[in-house]
Symmetry: C2
Subunit: 369 residues, 2 copies
């Protein structure tokens, strides 16, 4: 048994991504595909640093773009709590893809999902979080003229019929195997994945012709879309493509940064919050004493602050490499590395929190939540 | 094992209704309750002849009416084929209840149900039947100002959130036990019953206060509402009441008149169709030869024509009793009994088919299907 676990509902341990590629039956984004992708849409640090590292059918999506066939992006957020940096990492990349491919995006808000999967969460809770999360999502700068939000309970009239089409092709056996459901689990959990398939297929309905969809998401979500790929074929829709990221590591470095860990950095955190959390919780690859660190140097590969810089806060390769070599050599101390990250996060969040103010008005006026 | 079977998806054999009352855990409408009911809303042949013979919580519904608390009726139709007389029997009574109680009615059209349960039916099929069935339903004369149609795929935005509330309280175990679902069944079948619960609960949401719902339906549907009763309590809604009918017997007298038997009488049948089918298929309680019949008489209790007259086509008790005694004595021949029924059905259908013409316009204009 591996010493890690990756499901759509839980990620723990030290994730072996090579093994995941194998277990999930997805493909690595190799250098050929990376070149092809960057030729069309330019490069991005998350691509060249292999934070987005795996895919399914990405080649088909690129072919559709090249052949000027209709394409869509699809991502989502199951509202159940505040937004943290792990969410923003994937959505920042998604926004970049939307601009790079100049295409429409479906942003699904499955406000029933966590309600169905968590005992103590009410639909009122998830609806409050829907509004709150939408503020963050819109603040990230998606092109609203090309972005369609699908809020499951609000937009069910657009979604339920297609969800039933998916459901009819999906047995209880399949969802029991894919999601570990039991007889004691509620029937909403059994049905839910059908709703998550809808945005992967509905663009073909809306466009009135075969439309290729690309889903940027963390690799734990691919299990839903494995089901969608099987069903798409049976229903006569193109199989959706996925472009899959690793996880932004938890501050403790155990598993992914998540809402349940309690040690997250939220979109609304103050500079003081950020400083306190990074200083207190960010797992360090530095040595125990100053003397030892100066002499032996730190290990950036296990250092959460360095990994966060690498994944989302230091896009400049040269600057990142300088930080890395300074850390390895012992010139850069753990505290100094943390300070670099703290400043980067706080600049990012200050900008984001300013945009949240405008986004709030957009949410209240445009979306009528 | 009994020599009959009653599930929401299949009724065969010679139904033992006493046994059903016991098996389903429902109650007989006894003379006390019948008196109480008729005191409020008058009598109806289907009540005094015990075609509607059983109930759950009917006393609570009557109490709500007496205490001027909000009340609703709820019935439905899963579109999958044409309307036959069995449907019209229950809905005719429902219309009478609507007038007698002067109350609002939800008429659910679960256009996904038969799609999910029948392999060869498409959603396009059920949607075509939705329009066609609505013409019949509206032609029956429901008070449209007080009737709300809920068409599942079209009105899912109003229904899905509450269906998820029901689903969260319903385990896979429960639906496996109630509906005989297996691992090989699709996840839409698992979820569907949650959608059928919605109209039993949503009046309380719409009215903003506890609202008592009464569901007139054939007894095979009670299994859905047994689930609703359990869940209603957990969600803080009043348990819905049901008033349950026997089945209009099949022409062959085996099980109920149904769409799948192929020997149905449809709402659009011509007088010739009706005559042919009754003469050819209606199981007779008469004797084999004229001489024998005159001498020994017929048996109305096993005669489908007599039962149909009793259930829906001869409301006059005295006339019915005359037919009965004439048949028993041998004065009335099988062919003559059939002729009485044929004429009654054809008068009923001629009137109905005239009303269908106006109803068609209402469906196209008002409901925008």
């Amino acid at each position: 048994m591996p010493d890690f676990k990756v499901t759509p509902y839980d990620v723990t341990g030290n994730v072996d991504y090579d093994r995941l590629i194998n277990d999930f039956g997805v493909k690595r984004i190799d250098s050929t595909l990376h070149s092809k992708l960057t030729k069309i849409c330019g490069d991005h640090p998350m691509l060249r640093r292999q934070f987005f590292f795996a895919h399914t059918n990405l080649d088909k999506f690129l072919a559709a773009k090249e052949n000027k066939q209709p394409i869509y992006l699809y991502t989502g957020r199951a509202p159940s709590g505040p937004i943290h940096l792990g969410h923003m990492a994937v959505w920042g990349f998604t926004k970049w893809l939307q601009d790079a491919f100049d295409c429409k995006l479906i942003f699904q808000i499955p406000d029933e999902e966590k309600f169905l999967f968590k005992d103590n969460l009410t639909l009122d809770d998830t609806r409050r979080w829907t509004r709150e999360n939408l503020i963050d999502i819109i603040a990230l700068g998606f092109d609203l003229k090309k972005t369609k939000f699908l809020i499951d309970t609000k937009d069910a009239s657009q979604m339920y019929a297609l969800a039933c089409q998916v459901a009819k092709k999906t047995t209880a056996s399949t969802v029991r195997a894919l999601f570990g459901l039991q007889n004691e689990d509620n029937i909403g959990k059994y049905f839910y994945t059908a709703m998550q398939s809808v945005p992967a297929l509905i663009p073909s309905v809306w466009e009135g012709k075969s439309t290729q969809v690309l889903i940027p998401c963390a690799i734990d979500q691919d299990v839903h879309f494995r089901l969608t790929r099987d069903v798409a074929e049976k229903l006569g829709y193109p199989k959706p493509a996925t472009i899959l990221s690793k996880f932004l590591p938890a501050l403790s470095s155990d598993g992914k940064l998540s809402s349940s860990s309690g040690q997250s950095i939220w979109s609304t955190d103050s500079p003081k919050d950020v400083e306190k959390k990074i200083k207190k919780y960010a797992f360090s690859g530095g040595k125990d004493t100053l003397e030892e660190h100066r002499r032996l140097g730190g290990n950036p590969d296990i250092d959460v602050s360095f990994q966060w810089l690498s994944i989302m806060f230091e896009p400049d390769d040269k600057k990142l490499e300088n930080i890395r070599s300074d850390y390895i050599s012992g010139r850069l101390l753990s505290g100094e590395l943390k300070q670099i990250l703290i400043e980067k996060i706080n600049i990012f969040l200050a900008e984001h929190q300013k945009k949240r103010k405008d986004a709030e008005k957009v949410v209240d006026k445009t979306l009528n939540i």
